[in-house]
């Protein structure tokens, strides 16, 4: 018999909490997502290359680069700058914890 807590955990998608205020501006590569923070905006992209699913693990001069097949994305918008990828990076929605100011990213 599953306990209420277990049930809650089972239903709750994995989430990450990031204190965005302490990040500064720039491009931050996490295990499963990428945070892009400018002075006025904050975006979270999936780090999964839309081409064949590789993990994007490098940022070079504002471009997010897939190490497997060489796709490049504009870090600011997630748009494809160079193939083989054809689709932009998936933008992950997030919410802000009013109490702590952290952003909560459900992956």
């Amino acid at each position: 018999m599953m306990t209420a807590k277990q049930k809650q955990l089972m239903e709750k998608p994995a989430e990450s909490r990031i204190n965005a205020a302490k990040l500064g501006t720039g491009i931050f590569l996490f295990d499963t997502f990428i945070v892009i923070k400018t002075s006025g905006t904050l975006k979270v992209f999936s780090n999964k290359c839309t081409h064949a699913g590789c993990r994007i693990n490098q940022e070079i001069e504002g471009q997010l680069v897939c190490p497997c097949h060489g796709s490049r994305y504009d870090a600011a918008t997630g748009k494809v700058l160079k193939g083989p990828a054809g689709l932009p990076l998936y933008q992950i929605p997030f919410i802000t914890d009013a109490k702590t100011g952290e952003i909560i990213i459900k992956v």
Binding site: G24, G26, S39, H51, Q58, E61, C66, C68, H69, G86
Partner: protein, 905 residues
């Protein structure tokens, strides 16, 4: 033919099929034993521990790997053999052939799942790709993905399927196909012996987690290359399924179609082989093309040497770094001297030095190691590793300190080899033309790509070294360790205990080796001017400094910033020195900071340090700056934060934290004279506050075919060299001129210049038939000799050197006539005095500077300056009338007394 026949008999000890069966049996047995130490929860840790410090298990792993490779190769040959001979028709049952066809897929699945289970960086990416390819299949994709691949980062399903299900299915199919597993004992023993011998010498690959190059297993490199060219991977997945369908059809269709299918397969196999070669040999980091003649071309090893038996290593002391075993740290434990960010407990040794981290054997560990990491030839694999500083390494390659673009383009321009002073050049592309050789002989040693070949602090003339040029710091302990290392014999078993630090302690000396030449800004800044004296001339004299290259410098007024204890990097930040990713033509384009960023009544732009970019944050962390609530200046040009500044009280009270550790310095706003009125509105700060600049009169360049020369790019001596004959440099107030590229003022600003290239080039000495050319080009100068007090009014308005006429007597007569008597004779090529930039009350229409948009004063500007000069012949500089003229010069002239003599032009 008897001997070859004998050899053939020995080699072909059985059929491909039976040797493959022997290999798969060996693979299954070794796999079952390997399953015990393999930890699904920490796969990479368990694999690296096993490879590094468990010789028996490591051998077993090698046997498992090599037997699997042999099985795959022989299976493919076996299939090819049957199809080639047409013996596939021997199988009469469609269901048996169907299962055999499916077994190709199962074989590849078992192989790739094994590749993934080693859990290194390549494996993790392969897991994602496989998952993505399978999931993309319509309708059944999700089910197949969940059944055979599992979630990202979770190897449970893959482990079970690899170890049990797929293997069992494969065996069932083999038994059905071969009707037995009874391999001839001789065949089994020979196959086992071959595999064991191979396993002793060659390791089953396992790589790092974030290596620069990510490649799949050898049999899928062609697929990886194919994927690079195809936007929708579903095409590949469906294509593979369709091809499998065609394999199934071969025995059952008409012979004509059967032959057609086989022909298509032959073409596809050739194509796939070519794609594999392309992927394996010509793809580098980020799957970019890399060609063998590129400086940083690196081919991945085809075989990884193994050393199973290790004599003296203590396997119980194996170091675990960030979730994986690393042999290097196990031997070099206890080493100190590292900066916080580069401590081995965080990054190990392998991240920087390469080599083989998965062994406790010294010689093997040090193979393919970078003794000097950070050279630009290896930076992509060391400092620029995906987990470290890849973005910076890419920027550095485009920076001026790496490319030398400005120097090269100007040199080529004066030699007539380019018509563009901003041409795109890179030091790696310098050829052996007249200009190319000139650069190789005299200039091209100073670039970051110059390879550092020896460990230890760089000697004076050792320039370059990539990242190490600035970031390598040897303290006393590290120097002692280095000495010990150099004196060590091979038999000594003592390890160095102190490592040099890689940090941000970029002292002025790091800049000096290169920047003590040409404009000599490093020396100017500290108040030293180069002379023609010899060391013996100044022995015992206190006012002189002899550099390690024997050049003698005399003391001059130092820059006020140096006087206040500031280092070069207090002003010049990371986006200037390492570049910002853009290609700049010249240094003044790349520099971000301006005097007015700091010396202002109110900061033009400011930002909370905590909200600056990641790189700035890291530097502030490294320099242990307080970040909470601290606001810093943001440069007007390109908006880069000046990390070591502090802005207080609504943008006022600006101060700077000095890198030298000597506290802070208050940055004063400009004096009233600088900002009031419009007479000097076009003046740059440098125009007034530069105390002196090293200047030459001119030089002559010719090629001496017999003299001993040096190729600074090859770092090798050679016969024949360009020789520069020049006059002694003088330290004087700089010449003034117009920099129209500065758009902050209409028609540009008044800036400082020095003779950049007043030179003759005897081109005929290099190539017969060429004519001697003459150039009179001045260059923009930022002398770095700033003084608090500006130069006098007369030093500009009444000085022929400042106006660009050259040295001599500039006289204003009672009749209102300006005249100039030059100190130097007129040059035979252009009729101007040797040291002049422009003629007296003349205007140059030709290219007069080493930059487009920069020029000496035009006639109208000269007249206006001399007009004020005329006033200064009677009125004192600090007189009321001269002060008033600063606010409105035209009004002051209009209201002049009847005694004033206006100049007649």
């Amino acid at each position: 033919m008897k001997i070859p026949e004998n050899i053939r008999k020995v080699l072909a000890f059985d059929t491909y099929g039976w040797v493959a069966t022997a290999a798969i049996i060996l693979c299954a047995v070794s796999g079952a034993l390997l399953a015990v130490p393999y930890d699904v929860a920490n796969p990479y840790l368990s694999v690296t521990k096993l490879v590094t410090a468990n010789p028996a298990a490591s051998l077993l792993r090698n046997i498992h790997y090599w037997s699997a490779q042999l099985f795959l190769i022989l299976t493919l040959i076996h299939i090819f053999d049957h199809l080639w001979k047409g013996t596939e028709t021997n199988i009469k049952s469609k269901s048996v052939w169907f299962r055999l066809t499916l077994s190709i897929g199962f074989t590849l699945y078992v192989m790739i799942s094994g590749f993934i289970l080693k859990a290194d960086g390549d494996s993790l990416q392969a897991h994602r790709i496989l998952s993505s390819l399978v999931s993309s299949l319509p309708w059944i994709g999700a089910m197949l993905q969940q059944t055979f691949i599992g979630a990202e980062g979770n190897f449970q399903i893959l482990y079970i399927q690899h170890a049990a299900t797929a293997t069992v299915i494969l065996f069932i199919i083999i038994i059905e196909h071969a009707r037995s597993l009874k391999v001839n004992l001789r065949t089994f023993l020979i196959t086992t012996a071959i595999i064991i011998v191979f396993s002793f010498f060659f390791r089953a690959p396992v790589n790092g987690l974030s290596d620069a190059v990510m490649k799949g297993p050898w049999y899928f490199v062609g697929l990886q290359e194919t994927l690079h060219w195809i936007t929708n991977p579903l095409i590949i997945t469906l294509g593979l399924i369709i091809l499998t369908g065609f394999v199934y059809l071969i025995p059952w269709v008409k012979p004509l179609y059967s032959r057609l299918i086989k022909s298509i397969f032959v073409v596809l196999i050739i194509l796939y082989a070519l794609l594999s070669i392309s992927g394996f040999f010509f793809r580098g980091p980020m799957w970019q093309w890399q060609l063998p003649w590129q400086r940083d071309y690196k081919m991945q090893p085809m075989l990884y040497p193994e050393k199973i038996f290790i004599s003296s290593a203590d396997t119980t002391q194996l170091a675990i770094i960030q979730g994986h075993a690393e042999g290097c740290v196990s031997c070099h434990k206890g080493m100190s001297g590292f900066s916080d960010a580069h401590k081995p407990e965080y990054i190990g040794c392998y991240s920087c030095h390469g080599g083989d981290p998965l062994t406790l054997d010294k010689s093997k560990a040090h193979r393919r190691m970078f003794a000097v990491p950070g050279n630009l030839s290896n930076a992509a694999e060391t400092c620029g590793n995906a987990g470290c500083h890849p973005g910076i390494v890419s920027r550095v390659d485009k920076s001026l300190m790496t490319s030398l673009r400005g120097i090269i383009s100007v040199d080529k321009w004066v030699f007539g080899e380019t018509t563009d002073l901003n041409s795109k050049e890179h030091v790696n592309e310098i050829g052996r033309s007249a200009a190319g050789t000139h650069l190789r002989n005299l200039c091209a040693g100073c670039h970051l790509g110059n390879e550092k070949t020896k460990t230890g602090p760089a000697a004076w003339l050792e320039r370059g070294g990539g990242c190490l040029a600035c970031h390598l710091t040897y303290d006393e302990k590290a120097l002692v360790s280095l000495k010990q290392l150099r004196n060590m014999k091979k038999s000594d078993n003592v390890l160095p205990m102190f490592h040099p630090a890689l940090n941000l302690n970029v002292t002025n000396d790091k800049c000096k080796s290169c920047h003590s030449r040409s404009g000599r800004i490093s020396m100017n800044y500290e108040g030293w001017h180069e002379t023609e004296l010899k060391p013996e001339n100044v022995k015992g004299k206190s006012n002189y400094q002899v550099l390690p290259d024997k050049r003698v410098f005399v003391k001059m007024p130092e820059d006020i910033h140096h006087q206040k204890g500031m280092l070069c990097i207090d002003c010049h930040g990371s986006y200037e020195l390492m570049g910002d990713g853009k290609h700049y033509a010249h240094k003044e384009n790349a520099v971000k900071i301006q005097c007015s960023d700091c010396h202002t009544v109110k900061a033009y732009s400011q930002k909370l340090l905590a909200s600056t970019d990641q790189e700035t944050q890291l530097i502030s962390w490294s320099r242990k700056f307080k970040t909470e609530g601290v606001e810093v200046i943001v440069t007007q040009k390109d908006g880069k934060p000046l990390i070591n500044t502090i802005v207080e009280e609504q943008g006022t009270l600006l101060s700077m934290i000095k890198k030298s550790g000597a506290g802070t310095v208050i940055m004063k706003p400009p004096a009233k004279a600088c900002i009031e009125g419009k007479a000097h509105a076009r003046l740059s700060c440098e125009a007034c506050h530069t105390a002196w600049a090293p200047q030459c009169i001119g030089c002559h360049n010719s090629y001496d075919t017999k003299a001993k020369g040096f190729d600074m790019l090859k770092n090798a001596g050679l016969k024949g060299t360009w020789v520069e004959y020049s006059t002694e440099g003088v330290a004087e107030l700089p010449v003034l001129g117009i920099n129209a590229t500065d758009k902050s003022k209409k028609n540009g600003i008044v800036s400082t210049f020095t003779p950049g290239m007043i030179m003759t080039i005897e081109k005929g000495s290099f190539k017969k038939g060429e004519k001697t050319v003459f150039h009179r080009l001045y260059a923009p100068s930022s002398a770095h000799t700033t003084q608090q007090k500006g130069r006098s009014c007369k030093s500009c308005h009444n000085d022929p050197l400042a106006l660009g006429y050259g040295r001599g007597k500039l006289v204003f007569s009672k009749e209102g006539k300006w005249s100039f008597e030059p100190a130097y004779e007129n040059n035979k090529y252009d009729g101007l005095p040797e040291d002049a930039w422009t003629g007296f009350l003349k205007e140059r229409k030709d290219q007069a500077a080493t930059r487009i948009g920069m020029r000496p004063f035009n006639l109208m500007e000269q007249k206006r300056i001399l007009m004020a000069g005329a006033c200064l012949t009677c009125h004192k500089e600090n007189s009321l009338v001269m002060k008033r003229s600063l606010s409105d010069f035209d009004k002051t002239i209009h209201e002049r007394s009847k005694h004033c003599v206006m100049p007649l032009f």
